[in-house]
Protein backbone atom coordinates (compact mmCIF):
# COMPACT_ATOMS: atom_id res chain seq x y z
CA UNK A 1 0.00 0.00 0.00
CA UNK A 2 1.17 3.56 -0.60
CA UNK A 3 3.16 5.07 2.22
CA UNK A 4 1.13 8.28 2.48
CA UNK A 5 -2.13 6.35 2.80
CA UNK A 6 -0.61 4.26 5.56
CA UNK A 7 0.71 7.34 7.35
CA UNK A 8 -2.73 8.93 7.15
CA UNK A 9 -4.25 5.81 8.69
CA UNK A 10 -1.65 5.75 11.46
CA UNK A 11 -2.14 9.43 12.25
CA UNK A 12 -5.92 9.26 12.48
CA UNK A 13 -6.01 5.94 14.38
CA UNK A 14 -2.94 6.17 16.64
CA UNK A 15 -5.03 6.55 19.81
CA UNK A 16 -6.73 3.20 19.25
CA UNK A 17 -3.49 1.17 19.57
CA UNK A 18 -0.57 0.76 21.94
CA UNK A 19 2.26 3.05 20.88
CA UNK A 20 4.75 0.18 20.63
CA UNK A 21 2.46 -1.57 18.16
CA UNK A 22 2.31 1.35 15.73
CA UNK A 23 5.63 0.50 14.05
CA UNK A 24 4.56 -3.09 13.49
CA UNK A 25 1.20 -1.95 12.10
CA UNK A 26 2.90 0.53 9.76
CA UNK A 27 5.42 -1.98 8.45
CA UNK A 28 2.69 -4.52 7.90
CA UNK A 29 0.30 -2.09 6.20
CA UNK A 30 2.95 -1.00 3.69
CA UNK A 31 3.49 -4.59 2.54
CA UNK A 32 -0.15 -5.72 2.23
CA UNK A 33 -2.26 -5.63 -0.89
CA UNK A 34 -4.11 -2.45 -1.92
CA UNK A 35 -7.45 -4.27 -2.09
CA UNK A 36 -7.58 -4.53 1.70
CA UNK A 37 -7.45 -0.74 2.11
CA UNK A 38 -11.25 -0.39 2.05
CA UNK A 39 -11.68 -2.89 4.89
CA UNK A 40 -8.85 -1.45 6.96
CA UNK A 41 -9.89 2.17 6.57
CA UNK A 42 -13.58 1.56 7.36
CA UNK A 43 -13.01 -0.68 10.39
CA UNK A 44 -14.75 0.58 13.53
CA UNK A 45 -12.32 0.64 16.43
CA UNK A 46 -13.34 1.08 20.08
CA UNK A 47 -12.22 4.29 21.76
CA UNK A 48 -10.19 3.65 24.96
CA UNK A 49 -11.42 6.91 26.56
CA UNK A 50 -15.04 5.92 26.03
CA UNK A 51 -14.49 2.53 27.58
CA UNK A 52 -12.84 4.23 30.58
CA UNK A 53 -15.96 6.37 31.11
CA UNK A 54 -18.17 3.29 30.75
CA UNK A 55 -15.94 1.44 33.20
CA UNK A 56 -16.26 4.16 35.84
CA UNK A 57 -20.05 4.33 35.46
CA UNK A 58 -21.07 0.75 34.71
CA UNK A 59 -17.98 -1.26 35.63
CA UNK A 60 -19.75 -2.77 38.61
CA UNK A 61 -22.10 -4.60 36.24
CA UNK A 62 -19.36 -5.52 33.76
CA UNK A 63 -20.76 -3.20 31.08
CA UNK A 64 -17.24 -2.12 30.08
CA UNK A 65 -16.27 -5.72 29.34
CA UNK A 66 -19.44 -6.31 27.34
CA UNK A 67 -18.79 -3.19 25.26
CA UNK A 68 -15.28 -4.19 24.20
CA UNK A 69 -16.48 -7.70 23.34
CA UNK A 70 -15.30 -9.69 26.38
CA UNK A 71 -18.73 -11.20 26.99
CA UNK A 72 -17.47 -14.02 29.23
CA UNK A 73 -15.55 -11.75 31.58
CA UNK A 74 -18.49 -9.33 31.55
CA UNK A 75 -20.80 -12.03 32.86
CA UNK A 76 -18.20 -12.98 35.46
CA UNK A 77 -18.13 -9.36 36.64
CA UNK A 78 -21.91 -9.05 36.59
CA UNK A 79 -22.52 -12.16 38.68
CA UNK A 80 -19.87 -11.46 41.32
CA UNK A 81 -20.81 -7.87 42.23
CA UNK A 82 -17.95 -6.61 40.06
CA UNK A 83 -15.52 -9.18 41.49
CA UNK A 84 -16.50 -8.18 45.06
CA UNK A 85 -15.81 -4.59 44.04
CA UNK A 86 -12.10 -5.24 43.64
CA UNK A 87 -12.15 -6.19 39.96
CA UNK A 88 -14.18 -3.04 39.26
CA UNK A 89 -11.41 -0.85 40.63
CA UNK A 90 -8.67 -2.87 38.88
CA UNK A 91 -10.51 -2.50 35.57
CA UNK A 92 -10.58 1.29 35.86
CA UNK A 93 -6.85 1.04 35.20
CA UNK A 94 -6.82 -2.01 32.92
CA UNK A 95 -9.70 -1.30 30.57
CA UNK A 96 -7.88 1.15 28.28
CA UNK A 97 -5.12 -1.36 27.61
CA UNK A 98 -7.68 -4.10 27.10
CA UNK A 99 -9.55 -1.96 24.56
CA UNK A 100 -6.35 -1.27 22.60
CA UNK A 101 -5.56 -4.98 22.62
CA UNK A 102 -9.04 -5.79 21.26
CA UNK A 103 -8.52 -3.19 18.50
CA UNK A 104 -5.21 -4.81 17.61
CA UNK A 105 -6.87 -8.23 17.44
CA UNK A 106 -9.50 -6.79 15.10
CA UNK A 107 -6.90 -5.18 12.84
CA UNK A 108 -4.91 -8.40 12.73
CA UNK A 109 -7.83 -10.13 11.04
CA UNK A 110 -7.31 -7.78 8.08
CA UNK A 111 -3.53 -7.83 8.14
CA UNK A 112 -2.84 -11.57 8.07
Amino acid sequence: MEANKVDMFIMSNAKFFESHQLHIIRDRLVTIDDSKWVMVSTAQFKDPSTSLIISIIGGHFGVDRFVIGDTGLGIAKLLTCGGLGIWTVIDWFMIQGATREKNMQMLQQFLY
Binding site: H60, F61, D70, G72, L79, T80, C81, G82, G83
Partner: protein, 139 residues
Protein backbone atom coordinates in the same frame (compact mmCIF):
# COMPACT_ATOMS: atom_id res chain seq x y z
CA UNK B 1 -3.94 -17.05 20.98
CA UNK B 2 -1.46 -18.64 23.37
CA UNK B 3 -1.01 -15.39 25.30
CA UNK B 4 -4.77 -15.04 25.62
CA UNK B 5 -4.99 -18.56 27.03
CA UNK B 6 -2.44 -17.83 29.75
CA UNK B 7 -4.26 -14.60 30.63
CA UNK B 8 -7.69 -16.23 30.75
CA UNK B 9 -6.51 -19.17 32.84
CA UNK B 10 -4.79 -16.79 35.26
CA UNK B 11 -7.93 -14.68 35.66
CA UNK B 12 -10.09 -17.79 36.14
CA UNK B 13 -7.82 -19.29 38.79
CA UNK B 14 -7.56 -16.00 40.70
CA UNK B 15 -11.35 -15.57 40.53
CA UNK B 16 -11.99 -19.12 41.77
CA UNK B 17 -9.46 -18.72 44.58
CA UNK B 18 -11.07 -15.43 45.63
CA UNK B 19 -14.47 -17.09 45.50
CA UNK B 20 -13.38 -19.95 47.76
CA UNK B 21 -11.72 -17.56 50.24
CA UNK B 22 -14.89 -15.47 50.30
CA UNK B 23 -17.01 -18.60 50.90
CA UNK B 24 -14.67 -19.73 53.66
CA UNK B 25 -15.01 -16.41 55.46
CA UNK B 26 -18.77 -16.63 55.16
CA UNK B 27 -18.91 -20.20 56.44
CA UNK B 28 -16.67 -19.51 59.41
CA UNK B 29 -18.03 -17.50 62.30
CA UNK B 30 -15.58 -14.70 61.61
CA UNK B 31 -17.84 -13.12 59.01
CA UNK B 32 -21.14 -13.36 60.83
CA UNK B 33 -19.62 -11.97 64.02
CA UNK B 34 -17.76 -8.96 62.73
CA UNK B 35 -18.49 -8.05 59.16
CA UNK B 36 -22.08 -9.02 58.42
CA UNK B 37 -23.10 -5.40 58.91
CA UNK B 38 -20.63 -4.14 56.32
CA UNK B 39 -21.63 -5.94 53.11
CA UNK B 40 -19.35 -5.96 50.12
CA UNK B 41 -21.54 -4.67 47.30
CA UNK B 42 -20.32 -1.22 46.26
CA UNK B 43 -23.52 -0.43 44.37
CA UNK B 44 -25.72 -1.30 47.32
CA UNK B 45 -23.61 0.78 49.68
CA UNK B 46 -23.90 3.82 47.44
CA UNK B 47 -27.51 3.64 46.29
CA UNK B 48 -29.09 1.25 48.86
CA UNK B 49 -30.65 -0.58 45.88
CA UNK B 50 -29.54 -4.24 45.56
CA UNK B 51 -27.58 -5.08 42.40
CA UNK B 52 -28.39 -8.07 40.10
CA UNK B 53 -25.83 -10.21 41.91
CA UNK B 54 -26.85 -9.42 45.48
CA UNK B 55 -27.87 -12.50 47.45
CA UNK B 56 -25.70 -14.95 45.53
CA UNK B 57 -23.47 -15.58 48.57
CA UNK B 58 -26.52 -16.30 50.73
CA UNK B 59 -27.90 -18.48 47.93
CA UNK B 60 -24.73 -20.59 47.75
CA UNK B 61 -24.64 -20.92 51.54
CA UNK B 62 -28.25 -22.15 51.44
CA UNK B 63 -27.37 -24.72 48.76
CA UNK B 64 -24.48 -25.95 50.91
CA UNK B 65 -26.93 -26.38 53.79
CA UNK B 66 -29.27 -28.31 51.47
CA UNK B 67 -31.98 -25.68 51.47
CA UNK B 68 -32.61 -25.43 47.72
CA UNK B 69 -35.90 -23.48 47.80
CA UNK B 70 -34.40 -20.84 50.07
CA UNK B 71 -31.39 -20.70 47.73
CA UNK B 72 -33.67 -20.05 44.75
CA UNK B 73 -35.39 -17.31 46.72
CA UNK B 74 -32.12 -15.52 47.59
CA UNK B 75 -30.85 -15.51 44.01
CA UNK B 76 -31.34 -18.13 41.25
CA UNK B 77 -27.91 -17.31 39.80
CA UNK B 78 -26.35 -18.93 42.89
CA UNK B 79 -26.81 -22.35 41.25
CA UNK B 80 -24.99 -21.20 38.11
CA UNK B 81 -22.14 -19.63 40.02
CA UNK B 82 -21.67 -22.63 42.34
CA UNK B 83 -21.51 -24.92 39.29
CA UNK B 84 -18.87 -22.66 37.71
CA UNK B 85 -16.98 -22.49 41.00
CA UNK B 86 -16.84 -26.30 41.26
CA UNK B 87 -16.23 -27.13 37.59
CA UNK B 88 -13.61 -24.51 36.68
CA UNK B 89 -10.77 -25.68 38.99
CA UNK B 90 -11.31 -29.31 37.92
CA UNK B 91 -11.26 -28.30 34.26
CA UNK B 92 -8.15 -26.15 34.78
CA UNK B 93 -6.29 -29.07 36.38
CA UNK B 94 -7.35 -31.45 33.59
CA UNK B 95 -6.12 -28.94 30.99
CA UNK B 96 -2.83 -28.50 32.85
CA UNK B 97 -2.24 -32.25 33.02
CA UNK B 98 -3.20 -33.08 29.43
CA UNK B 99 -1.63 -29.86 28.06
CA UNK B 100 -4.73 -29.09 25.98
CA UNK B 101 -6.89 -25.99 25.71
CA UNK B 102 -10.37 -27.48 25.95
CA UNK B 103 -11.53 -24.86 28.50
CA UNK B 104 -10.40 -22.05 26.20
CA UNK B 105 -12.23 -23.63 23.26
CA UNK B 106 -15.37 -23.99 25.37
CA UNK B 107 -15.09 -20.40 26.65
CA UNK B 108 -14.73 -18.97 23.15
CA UNK B 109 -17.68 -21.07 21.90
CA UNK B 110 -19.92 -19.90 24.77
CA UNK B 111 -18.86 -16.30 24.20
CA UNK B 112 -19.72 -16.55 20.50
CA UNK B 113 -23.10 -18.10 21.31
CA UNK B 114 -23.93 -15.36 23.83
CA UNK B 115 -23.18 -12.66 21.28
CA UNK B 116 -25.97 -13.92 19.01
CA UNK B 117 -29.09 -11.79 19.33
CA UNK B 118 -31.39 -14.78 19.88
CA UNK B 119 -29.44 -15.79 22.98
CA UNK B 120 -28.38 -12.36 24.19
CA UNK B 121 -31.83 -10.75 24.41
CA UNK B 122 -33.42 -13.49 26.60
CA UNK B 123 -30.28 -13.52 28.78
CA UNK B 124 -30.44 -9.75 29.31
CA UNK B 125 -34.18 -10.01 30.02
CA UNK B 126 -33.52 -12.77 32.57
CA UNK B 127 -30.92 -10.66 34.38
CA UNK B 128 -33.22 -7.63 34.40
CA UNK B 129 -36.19 -9.65 35.73
CA UNK B 130 -33.97 -11.07 38.44
CA UNK B 131 -32.78 -7.58 39.28
CA UNK B 132 -36.35 -6.29 39.67
CA UNK B 133 -37.12 -9.31 41.81
CA UNK B 134 -34.07 -8.47 43.94
CA UNK B 135 -35.30 -4.90 44.40
CA UNK B 136 -38.81 -6.16 45.19
CA UNK B 137 -37.43 -8.59 47.81
CA UNK B 138 -35.29 -5.76 49.20
CA UNK B 139 -32.30 -8.04 49.83
Amino acid sequence: MHLFQIKLYRILSIACLAGYIWLYFNLSNFYSKYTSQIGVCLFKRVTSIPCPACGITRSILSILQGNLLQAFYWNPFGFLLLAVLILTPIWLVIDAITKKNSLLTFYVAVEKKLQQKLVAIPAIALVLINWFWNIHKDL
